[in-house]
Symmetry: C2
Amino acid sequence: MLIVLSGPSGVGKGTVRQAMLKSGYRDFHYSVSMTTRKMRPGEVDGVDYYFRTKEQFEEEIANGGMLEYAQYVDNYYGTPLHYVNEQLDAGQDVLLEIEVKGAMQVRAKCPDAVFIFLTPPDLNELRHRLVGRGTDDAVTIQKRVNKAVDELKMMQNYDYAVVNDEVPLAVDRIEHIIQSEHLRVQRVAEKYANMIKKATSGD
Amino acid sequence: MLIVLSGPSGVGKGTVRQAMLKSGYRDFHYSVSMTTRKMRPGEVDGVDYYFRTKEQFEEEIANGGMLEYAQYVDNYYGTPLHYVNEQLDAGQDVLLEIEVKGAMQVRAKCPDAVFIFLTPPDLNELRHRLVGRGTDDAVTIQKRVNKAVDELKMMQNYDYAVVNDEVPLAVDRIEHIIQSEHLRVQRVAEKYANMIKKATSGD
């Protein structure tokens, strides 16, 4: 099963993803993204990202090797298709933690995936925090709130909305969604068909 | 949210429902069924069932007061619509534990409800148990297995299939399904729309 975790920038997708990997609750594979941005101190190729040149990345795109990709600040970021397919074929769950633009590309290609949208606990809190900080003027604050609103409206393209009020709670909710999605009739139909076949053949 | 728990006869729906009510995990209301069968010693009207006469039950049917109903062995069993609507309007989750025929009636009337099908752990085990018991001949055993197979095939009309291998595990799975269904975007859309309204009005 393919699980797509996305949400507005700054909502804490990376933190939640790391907490999920540490929780050990469920066996799934995290799909490492590919990027053209420079490796930072402490980062490891193949762990934090697959670090590639712009030419290599564009060659992957041209070869149809990217499940999704986008450009941010002159750098490419994306998900190589190869690893995802390999894990899915082996019956493993695969987790993508990606931006909303990329998530919509995955949605078009893999409608059976589970799309989870991480949301901030409260937009009004964001406004109050910005006002209280006193560093932004009213126009800037309104712009930032409007941006958060626009991003929040994108949840309509997702299956689930999970509020990131506290990371362990958000992780629990996501784990339960994954567990429940595995019990969806369309996903288990084959298993039960085999059980019926075995029982009626009198084996 | 309306939750419909159903499954083949003998799968343990009643036991799982009782364990759910005792678990106290989540606040939901169990909709007591109505029946025309006689009250048994220890049973309480309005707790185990609403006990009614055949005439009263048929009047309810005629008045459109039943969400679902069916006849078994000369007795009516069904779910009064009134209580379910009252609880749903109050924003409560309502649990129905009903037979597959009734569940299909609810599906037609309430497509937004969550339909959970409880399954036996293994059909082949059923066969082996019947053979090992040595009280049924081969034809009878085949008939019983075929009946279980037919009932199992009805799961395709449900959203989730939950195996009742151990009652506490089945209860956990159902609780997680309910929790996850509450996070479905179409169910929370209104809540987030209100949050956006508040944030953009600058309240």
